[in-house]
Symmetry: C3
Subunit: 311 residues, 3 copies
């Protein structure tokens, strides 16, 4: 693997899931692989799970890890040809080439600002790093994708499925703040790579980028969509069409125990209780969010392992 910024960087999804599950059973098996190798983790946005799980994954492989909150340093310039007389003190060209001197792999988190669809879809921050670094890049969530999360979700489904082709429903939920489409985008993309019966349910106006959803089944009636689900993946996102806007906070879309039926409840966390999902779901055995969060370590670890093997 040469980088991991999108799911299509994975050559064979079912294979990598199996390898991740094996790694989870024996996390220190490859602790010599990362010896004398450094992972630099760059955060432009705050992080709890991603920070800790990715750092742990790297250390399990014997890597050294350096964490840098970029905002503690200074603002980076991304435009070519700018006269840098204002707020930006360093160009991404220098920053990324310099960091490449100190790191064997660079992981980057950079959220969208949800103001300009064009700008966010250009993935200018992530792509600037990809363009200018001379070492492999791992995305820890970018403007439009969160591939480490989706890989962890795939591992969780694989571990817990009780039939060959389970039904997986991604169900929109209300949220007080406008959130990115990165997590649902990557989840959809990942489901296309798995042997599942997949459908998406959300209020009208919340359709994701059709280039990502492709031929996914989209059902605007939540009850109908959830019928006989084995896994329900709940997530809020802001509108793609009316880009970054909150069109609805309709609490009827909150996930409840009743709606869930016998399905497993999944969520990438953090989750707002009793707004996105009611307590009764999270506090039940059907919730697998903690196991899902644990799998973040192994999704990161299998990715780092694949990249290290290719260095």
């Amino acid at each position: 693997m040469k980088k991991y910024t999108n799911i299509d960087d994975i050559e064979n999804v079912p294979e990598i899931i199996q390898e991740a599950i094996q790694l989870k059973a024996n996390p220190f098996q490859f602790e010599d692989l990362g010896k004398h190798k450094t992972l630099i983790m760059l955060f432009f946005n705050s992080s709890l799970r991603t920070r800790i799980s990715t750092e742990k994954a790297a250390k399990n492989l014997g890597m050294d890890v350096m964490v840098l909150n970029v905002n503690d340093a200074w603002n980076l310039e991304y435009e070519d040809g700018t006269v840098m007389s204002l707020d930006t003190a360093e160009h991404i060209k220098e920053a990324s080439q310099v960091l490449s001197q100190y790191a064997d792999i660079i992981a980057v988190r950079a959220f969208p600002d949800l103001k300009s669809k064009e700008k966010d879809e250009s993935e200018f921050m992530l792509n600037s790093f990809i363009k200018h670094t001379t070492v492999p890049i791992v995305s820890m969530e970018s403007a439009t994708a969160h591939p480490l999360q989706a890989l962890a979700d795939a591992i969780t489904i694989e571990e817990l499925k009780t039939k060959k082709r389970p039904k997986v429903v991604m169900s929109w939920a209300p949220h007080p703040k406008a959130l990115p489409q990165a997590v649902p985008n990557s989840f959809v993309t990942m489901m296309h790579e798995m042997d599942v019966h997949f459908c998406i349910t959300h209020p009208k106006g919340y359709d994701l980028n059709p280039k990502i959803t492709k031929d996914s089944t989209i059902i605007y009636n939540q009850e109908e969509a959830l019928k006989d689900a084995d896994f329900v993946y709940v997530k809020n996102w802001s509108s793609y069409e009316k880009y970054g806007k909150i069109l609805s906070k309709d609490t009827n879309w909150m996930m409840t125990k009743e709606k869930l039926g016998n399905a497993k409840f999944m969520h990438c966390l953090p989750v707002r209780r009793n707004f996105v999902v009611e307590d009764a779901v999270l506090d039940s055995d059907q919730s697998v969010v903690i196991q899902g969060a644990n799998n973040r370590t192994y999704s990161a670890q299998i990715v780092l392992k694949k990249i290290l093997e290719n260095l």
Copy 2:
């Protein structure tokens, strides 16, 4: 040891002090014990000594350490049943269970806000972690206790005492800001476990929680209390009765060389010079604050060792 959030988590205080002193003589003796084990240190409040000494203690035992300033991530919700539509983005239930997936031990620092005695005494933050994590918790100072500090103080007294049963005086000092009672609370509790002649001196109105001071001798006349002291432990705290209030900044309570007599001067640091204690004390050989700070490493290390042995 299953956790360390209060001094009564220690089975045998004299024994643990002796073990800590032995550990100090050979800090790397057990560096295999923490191999493949992770300590997550969570800070809700700033820290210098606690951060560095606890991290060092864990690394001396071969542990991996991850430090997280929680305020860099987001606000946690502690109430049950809340509709999380406002400022809190994640419930302690999820946060602590998730962190338990990544850590073998979690250390937490969470100060009181000194506004509601009831709320602070409920130790809602620390107790939420204790309740919801599935790994051992170490307190790096909570609303009402600082047991790692008290254990370090006990080590310092044990190392430096020149008689079997030294006289130890805890003497209140003025301070420009309202400070918690956590340090004096734990110091008092620890002194009850040691073979010392102990008394407390402070202005009227500064009595600590009587459930903690129990039958401690309290003398409102500082001069009388300090007579023939072997160790003087100086510390400010805000009023317990008029909860969190500053009732006095009476500079006569500042510790001076004259008042100190031949005693050793102790303070948990940071200390405000010439307000809490005069330069002449801190700059003399009678001050053992630096040795005391060094013992923070070994109080943390013996605690982590005991917990690791019990995992």
Copy 3:
């Protein structure tokens, strides 16, 4: 080496450069040297390169590293005899002695405030650490010097020179903000230790401290100074005479491809494109800024190695 806060802490400059180049060829050769040794890195100001390269250098030597952004903790007091009733919560005397308990080497970054020449030249922050710590101090840039940067620059020149005695020109550049003289000061001092033909060019009014420039050739005509240069070191600094002031933002002083001739372009980074230097320079093969940044690791590593060997 007992400390590294100024270039004259180096006994033999040409020798240390050669050793650094050897270390670069085999960075993990001495990874047992730092075993059980701790580097504490204290930042009073933000850092990207220095933070990452110094941490990497220490880890290459097998050291443990703890990074502390001091501003996350509390304000330190530097004055003797102060009644600490206001904003400062801890005196440098305690802070530095305490940190000495936890560290084998302490690295400090503390910029000048460029308001009082006298205060900045007193190096009160750095010198307070030197005075009160009981372990070796490494400067990661102080008010008036950046010796790790200058050593990295010396390594870069040594690696790239194609004649025995290359011509090195330090050329002032415009900048939107008032910057310290630390980098140019140390570069000048280092050039005096090397076998180079050295001159400085800057607009009138920008003369550096004459105690530092000593008998350096200073040419106010940039074109004349740059003639036949082998290395051009570009850097902005604020006025030394009219202390901390910006006297000129004359864009004619920006480095261009034309002015550079056949010389190698050096800059300590971060650099503001098209204000300090035009894109055409940075994007050409003549720019050696990335190689220079890489050498920051080896300047730090040779310094830490020398200090570790002397512990």
